[in-house]
Amino acid sequence: MDMHALGEWIYGTALSGALREYAWAVPVVQSIHIIAIAVVVGSALVTELRIAGIVAPDESMSVVARRYLPWMWRALAVLLVTGLLMIIAEPDRTLNNVPFWIKMALVVTAVLISVVLRRPLLQPLSESGQGPARSLAWILLALWVAVIFCGRFIAYIN
């Protein structure tokens, strides 16, 4: 099944019709999506800038990670649900959209870096581990900004 056929099928579902029937549904879902983005950005900003040694350098990394990572995962779950609802409401707007797929690739990259590469780095860092950890912190922040840019460009580029 190609993307267009998939889009047609999604468009015909009852949920898709319901989301489009109520004028407030899509703006509300998008607003919740943006609030969840804000939670990811806030958590990522403090966590990454701590790793980069800019925010609260006297506080231990594990305390910072323990406080903010759970919020980040919860927000990512909300983003997944609201994002899926937006796709269901307007499948053609997203499934055939280049910025959308770039955004998805960037999100997967950011999450993989957070999970696979960062977990071991959050153990007490050796001198040799600090450089790579700091670079990754800046890369992650840049990735989240790029994700937001791609998200907004879904509305402009097809």
């Binding site: 607003s31 943006i34 609030i35 983005i37 958590s43 937001i148």
Partner: protein, 163 residues
């Protein structure tokens, strides 16, 4: 010059015309605005939740606020600049938009709320810096701020659907 003429003047400035006529300036400004808003709301939420009693990376409120608020302010200035440029690209239409007016009103109320917090209960922060839950006045300030900023995001997104 009355308000209408002034809004019309803003829309016809060189920079406003460049933003509204160009294909790339408006979306780029929107991206910057969203990144800035996400930073404002994301960072202020950390402080608001701490005022409501949710722990942050700092034990004390004062240290948390000193860590976080510079980023909130920096991002707010960026959001304001990008937002102003988006505004002038179609000043009369935004100025008459009810959602936009309400959004500005909520931001003003959020500023007043923050001012009251800093001038009253925060003055005595040494007495409750590490106390959980924080005093009622701090919790009220945090809840009010959180509600107002969520409202700002909703209204901001809504503006895009009404123009």
């Amino acid at each position: 010059m009355n308000l209408e003429a002034w809004l019309e003047y803003l829309r016809n400035t060189t920079i406003a015309v460049a933003i509204s006529q160009g294909s790339i300036a408006f979306p780029i400004l929107e991206c910057i605005h969203v990144v800035a808003i996400a930073t404002v709301v994301g960072t202020i939420t950390i402080v608001d939740l701490r005022l409501l009693g949710y722990r942050s990376h700092r034990r004390g409120v004062r240290q948390l606020i000193e860590d976080i608020l510079p980023f909130t302010w920096g991002a707010f200035v960026l959001a304001l600049i990008a937002g102003s440029l988006l505004f002038i690209s179609n000043a009369p239409k935004y100025a008459h938009n009810e959602q936009f007016q309400l959004k500005l009103l909520l931001i003003v109320i959020a500023a007043i709320n923050m001012g009251i917090f800093h001038l009253t209960i925060y003055r005595r922060v040494a007495e409750w810096d590490e106390r959980l839950p924080p005093p009622a006045a701090a919790r009220i300030a945090g809840a009010t701020s959180l509600g107002l900023w969520l409202g700002v995001v909703f209204l901001g997104r809504w503006v895009g659907f009404t123009l």
